[in-house]
Amino acid sequence: METNRRQQVALSSGQKCLRERAKQLAAEFCAGNDHAFSELYDLYVQSLYNYGMKLTQDQELLKDCIHDVFVKVYTKRNEKHTINNLSSYLLISLKNRLLDEFRRNTFMDDGEVECYDYRRASEDVEHDYLNTERELMQTAQVAHLMNHLTRRQRQAITLYYLEERKYDEICDIMQMNYHSVRNLMHRGMLKLREAAL
């Protein structure tokens, strides 16, 4: 911890000035001064970018996420906790945005990798053929079972299991709240299970 203390002391003069300025700007920004927002952007954008580069190499993705973070801060400027600790708030928001994007991309990448492996492994043509046939049968069976569901249940289950959407996206698409979507899925799955027996 000694190293930390020394770092903190060494920093305090320059960093303190910056913090004071940021605080002042944040107050003006809160009061509706867009010019202060622009200055806050100038003050923080390099730090955010440097921080983001520690977590990703994708510069375009990073810029998109920084864009989203500043837009979010602007719309949430009336919330006290946003403004009080702006530097940590900005970093944490950016980190969360990036992690969301990583998660989304892993979903897609996984698919591609699986497809690729599958193709490489399929040297046996007959085995391939049987597999395709089994998949077709299963698809037909699932399609048949899906007919037992209501239109909304079918939509929710398709979005979740086939399109691998997250719950908040499904809520958005279906214009429903989280609990309703969960209920819909739950009842849908019960019905599917019953129908499959």
Binding site: M1, L11, S38, S47, Y51, V71, S88, L91
Partner: protein, 95 residues
């Protein structure tokens, strides 16, 4: 008593970090370093002493956060361009 209890439970929740990135992605760690919260210092000291092998990752992450504004990786043009994008989005979404 209450303080030390919450310290223990909180410590139990946090796994032992082995990489710099884990520290950089920890909300409490970010708040501790960026907001200069002195009352969290004892927590992180005890976390470190419980697992001394993480010390170098901890210090590196600390150093990174402390010196984020030391260099400019974005060119001024890129920064301006991104700023215009932000303002454009705000203009569209507000009107």
């Amino acid at each position: 008593m209450i303080a030390s209890y919450s310290l223990v439970t909180k410590y139990m929740k946090r796994t032992i970090y082995t990489t710099v990135e884990q520290f950089l992605c920890d909300d409490d760690f970010i708040r501790y370093v960026m907001d200069c919260v002195p009352d969290k210092e004892s927590y992180w000291a005890s976390y470190l002493s419980a697992a001394p092998q993480i010390r170098s990752a901890y210090l590196k992450a600390y150093d990174i956060l402390m010196h984020l504004d030391d260099c400019s990786m974005l060119t001024p043009e890129q920064a301006e361009c991104l700023k215009r994008r932000v303002f454009n989005t705000l203009r569209v979404s507000i009107s």
